[in-house]
Amino acid sequence: MSWPPAFPILSLLVWAPAAGALLSALPREELTGLRRRISLGFAAATLVLAVALTFHVGPGEHLRELRRWIPTLGFSYDLSLDAYRVLLTFWIALLGLLALVSAPSGRRATLLVLLAETALLGLATAGDGALFLAFYGALILALAILLERGEAMRTFFFFQSAGLALAFCYVAIVYHLTWVQTGFPSAEIARFSSLVTFPDFERRMFLLGASVFAFAAPLFPFTSWVASAGFSLSNPGRLMLFGGFPLASASFFVRAVVPSYTGGEGALVALAVLSLLYAGLASRRSWAALLVGCQGLVALALLSGVAGRAGVLPMALALSALALWTSEPDDAPGAIPGGLALLMFLPTAWLVLRERWSAAPLTTAFAGLGFVLMMFHLARSLPPLSRRRAVLLLPVVGLWAISFLAPSRFAAGDAKVDAVQEEE
């Protein structure tokens, strides 16, 4: 399948949910059926587009849409997809649809879920630092308003805007360096790794990038917002928060920080191990402990080479499955036992811990201990899942199985630019 070179397929993918959000806001509050049909229609259309792109973009290929935005300031409307990120967009599109299907929601929740989907798709595709931050800010705002309770909103927003402010500093510094070294301003993310800097400066920048991840992910101890957010959110919001939001910080880290990474990961590893231990030692099952533990594992994965980085998607899928599991406890006969959810965490954990073991056995042992304890708590407390919800779980499990093919999609190979749409 191919598109005409000038066809803005990536824009269509990113903005389709936002268009659905605007249209679904038009019907009056009581026209619930019409609103639901509109929102589901747009979410489904986005998913179809994402599936088509998944088949279209293979390993070593990429698709790009580049337009002038603010050329004098060096900002461009730059969207791109490679073979791995196309899997992420597939998951985000599926997540948006699942969130809308999982429970009937009011006008406000429908609109915000679709806007959050657009922001997530934008984060996965943005190739310009300023555009990335714009989508990041939009995602934080959409999820904050989705929380509904003022106190939860403020706590969530405090931590996330701290992460965003640090991300802004990171991009602004690199923007300035690009201007100084090349003579023209640019916030293009791919350019970050080609800058000439001193090792000491690189370590500081890595620390700054790691702080962004620690605040946004979150890692222990920046976790105060998670418990109240998990409590305040209804099912669609919880799916977006736990299945989609962790991808934002990981995406920033993988694309902007890791390519220029030359060492100095000690602080991040320490926070990751602490997060896993916190999750393991937490006395009762709570969203805070679960999410923080999983993000600790993701942090270790991000530092563990290609196979580890590919584990980000399976972890997001496992968290989404848990969000489905715990949203509506149901012990009806024939329900699926909770232990199945645990299986989704194990392969990634095994891959990551095995890779880390040779480099740092002691910290890996602590991380492993935290992980085992976390799984033990989870196994004891997860309720069975009703059959109705199990239907929603099927696509998640299916994509989880497919996501283990992701490492092959990381292969750069001879990058073939399939379609570059430039409007000079």
Partner: protein, 384 residues
């Protein structure tokens, strides 16, 4: 020369009996719009003063926004138009003495308070110093200090004590800010070291005010102060700071006017929780977060080149402090936004915000994501 006359004509229309009718106000708005179109048409003229035209267009855009207010106070509107005419003189005059004179008159027109005398006299003394070579630096310092203090005092009085509607008050404060900024901008290349201190003081005071305010007028005054601080922070960056400075100024105008439109008719910030209208809460969210430079709202894009320009001129410490203050400003803005969207409150205040305000918000956002390239080019060309 035509531009300052058109708001005078609009003021004339508003001061007659015709001006009290909606039709008369539309006519005055049409005159403002005509002036705005004229300013846009002059941009490509060979000898055009692009800085003056851009600042003039900002003032005229503000007037158009205020005239769209569905329930205006005609006397305040008339006064604002007279003030805008003086502000246009201040931004387009080629000699600084004319600009300073116009600004002082504008301040007196907006609020007649004896307190303004002191900063006015300081500004005039600074102006005198500019004419003597050996006193030039001191003169410039006094001028900057005097005009900044003048803006601060007048704006505070206008925003907190005026009987007019909030949008008109905010517009008056912003028009005065544009006029003061134009004088500061012209002193650009030799901007005194102390200028950055004034900008920081304004930003810090504003942020603290936004975080602690309980009354709407205090909140808006503090927001205006913090935005002014941010805009003035671009001045020490010299030529490279001019483009981002202009963007930040224009974004401030849009954001503060929208914020004032959303908060009009409310006394204390706690009442925000009882706003029933979703469009009004949306405009509030848009205005508050945009005024705090939160992405993806207008004002955010200017932060990158502004940061780079300050880096270049050797102000990395100032930059870190400004980033921290902006973070606090975002939290202050979110305090109100979270209250507006909190589902636990009964919605009893049903007043709507005008559809025109929402349309302008969308248009302004579009403008600030597409048009800045041209604005920055103009600013840089003028700087050279």
């Amino acid at each position: 020369m035509t531009l300052p006359l058109l708001p005078l004509l609009a003021a004339g229309i508003l001061s007659t009996r015709v001006g009290e009718s909606p039709w008369g106000r539309r006519l005055a708005g049409g005159v403002d719009l005509l002036a705005l179109v004229l300013a846009a048409a002059h941009w490509n003229a060979r000898d055009a003063d692009v800085f003056g035209l851009f600042l003039g267009a900002t003032i005229l855009g503000t007037l158009v926004f205020v005239v769209l207010d569905p329930e205006p106070n005609v006397e305040s509107l008339c006064r604002l138009h007279l003030g805008a005419s003086l502000a246009l003189v201040a931004v387009s005059a080629r000699e600084i003495p004319w600009s300073v004179g116009a600004i002082l008159l504008l301040g007196l027109l907006l609020r007649r308070e004896r307190l303004f005398l002191a900063p006015g006299l300081v500004a005039l003394a600074g102006l005198g110093g500019l004419f003597a070579t050996e006193w030039e630096r001191l003169g410039l310092g006094l001028l900057v200090l005097g005009l900044s203090a003048f803006w601060l005092l007048v704006s505070r009085e206008v925003l907190r004590s005026s009987p007019a509607r909030l949008v008109t008050r905010m517009a008056s404060s912003f028009v005065l800010l544009v006029a003061v900024y134009s004088v500061h901008l012209r002193s650009g290349a030799q901007f005194p070291e102390g200028g950055a201190t004034i900008a920081f003081a304004a930003l810090t005071l504003g942020v603290l005010g936004v975080l602690g305010a309980t009354r709407v007028t205090t909140f808006l005054t503090a927001f205006a102060l913090s935005r002014a601080g941010l805009v003035f922070l671009a001045l020490p960056a010299g030529v490279h700071g001019r483009g981002p400075g202009l963007l930040a100024l224009a974004a401030s105008g849009v954001s503060l006017l929208l914020l004032a439109a959303a908060l009009d008719g409310i006394e204390v910030l706690d009442d925000v929780a009882r706003l029933g209208s979703s469009p009004r809460r949306l405009v509030l969210t848009w205005g508050a977060l945009s005024a705090a430079s939160f992405p993806p709202f207008p004002g955010f894009a200017a932060a990158f080149p502004l940061a780079s320009a300050l880096f270049d001129r050797g102000y990395p410490g100032s930059l870190v402090a400004a980033a921290a203050l902006l973070f606090l400003l975002v939290l202050g803005a979110m305090r109100v936004v979270a209250r507006a969207w909190d589902s636990g409150e009964a919605r009893t205040v049903e007043a709507e915000v005008g559809r025109a305000a929402i349309a302008l918000a969308v248009l302004a956002s579009w403008f600030f994501t597409i048009a800045p390239a041209r604005l920055a080019e103009i600013a840089r060309a003028a700087g050279l």
